[in-house]
């Protein structure tokens, strides 16, 4: 779980809308908000809900991997 939190923390940090142009900012903000919700969920939920949140986080991190790599390297 700690690893999930750490990975989501890094994703939140990387998903910074200042790195992209104006027409794309809302997309990055959307991903940033989702990452924040997932981080809070992993931290606060228990039992079944926690498991759901962890699975969702894993999916989310897998899907956003390319975007985060591109954002880190500069679009």
């Amino acid at each position: 779980m700690q690893e999930q939190i750490k990975a989501l923390g890094k994703a939140i940090e990387a998903l910074d809308h200042n790195k992209v142009s104006w027409v794309n900012k809302h997309l990055v903000i959307d991903l940033h908000e989702k990452a924040t919700v997932l981080l809070k969920s992993v931290k606060h939920f228990e039992n079944d809900e926690l498991q759901k949140a962890i699975n969702a986080s894993q999916e989310f991190l897998k899907d956003t991997k390319d975007v985060i790599t591109k954002l880190d390297g500069g679009f």
């Binding site: 700690q2 939190i5 750490k6 923390g9 809308h17 992209v20 142009s21 104006w22 027409v23 794309n24 900012k25 809302h26 997309l27 990055v28 903000i29 959307d30 991903l31 940033h32 989702k34 919700v37 809070k40 969920s41 931290k43 606060h44 939920f45 809900e49 759901k52 949140a53 969702a56 999916e59 989310f60 899907d63 956003t64 390319d66 975007v67 591109k70 679009f75």
Partner: protein, 366 residues
Amino acid sequence: MDLFSKRYTILVNDEPVELSIKNNKIRNAYFMDNRMTIELSEDIIKQIQTYPSTVINADKFDGNAEFTKAISKMMSQQLDLAILRNDKTTLSRFARSGLVGDDKTADFLQSINNPTGARKLLINTVDKTNTIFKVLKLDRFLDKLKEKIADTKADAFLQAFQQDQFNKSVGYDSKLHLNKQLDTELVTLASNFLKNHNIEVFDAEKVEDKQSEELFMQTALRNGFLVDDAKIAFHQTLEKNQISKYGTIKDNLNLIEKFKSNIEFLEKQDAMKNKTLKDFSTVSEDMTPVEKIDILVKNEEYLNMNEAQKLRVENDVIYDDVPITDKYLSNIDTSSADMGGYQEFNYNNDRLKSQHQVNTQLNTQQ
């Protein structure tokens, strides 16, 4: 209640977004000559209305994610619409502006629709992640989160993460941030916090002050504000409180200057009595030697001196203005120094100079 709607212009990378606001609601929004839909919260609308000018740079809302998201979404819709309609005027305007980014190739449309380009990649990722949240039933998820998060303390890792974010936050710069527009709720939160904790000054070296700053940032974060905004709000409110209580540094410096000149004036007034030698030196500060003598002969302390002392004083306070005398004074018999001695010294000095010139000429001839 407003009778007429008022028009405001928000400049985003020099491209204007025209907003007509009536009764704290957006009536119309225009971007690149097309009517658009834009949703902004009442707070942001109030900030726009209270701004001193009707033309506002979008940088003023820097850090406000809600505003950025709304404007960006509207622009994105405009771009999509222009692509669908093949509206070349709007597309060329987008191409010329800095709103689309730097990944432009010769063919603008091709670069936007490039599957590995920034826009396509982001749209695909947002779609994919939307599916994850649909499965989670996001609304129920968020409601539960709100219940769980309320008044719960973050664990050690989150605290470390938070601390890291605090350390990375912007440094407060009075010139940049004193007049920065912030969320009114955040400003109220900051002013209440400072009042409740009785904080009037902030010393970055003091541990207690740093702890108070962090405590406020934590409170602001829990209320959904950004770290940078929270820090700016803390220091901005503190500085504004100080200014309202003690005035600005400029005001205080002016006051000090005023006091200084008053003190100088009073000192001079007191010195006009011309009792001591100090009084004399204060009064005769900017006078010529001849004027100085007129004042000196009326000085009480000077009048009570014997002749030798008087002579020394005259040398000190009147003739000392000629700097070269210091250099050669030891060669002159000061006990018999008078105006004659001074002239003799000048005469000797001139003779030495001409002798030196003659010597130099002889040396060059040889």
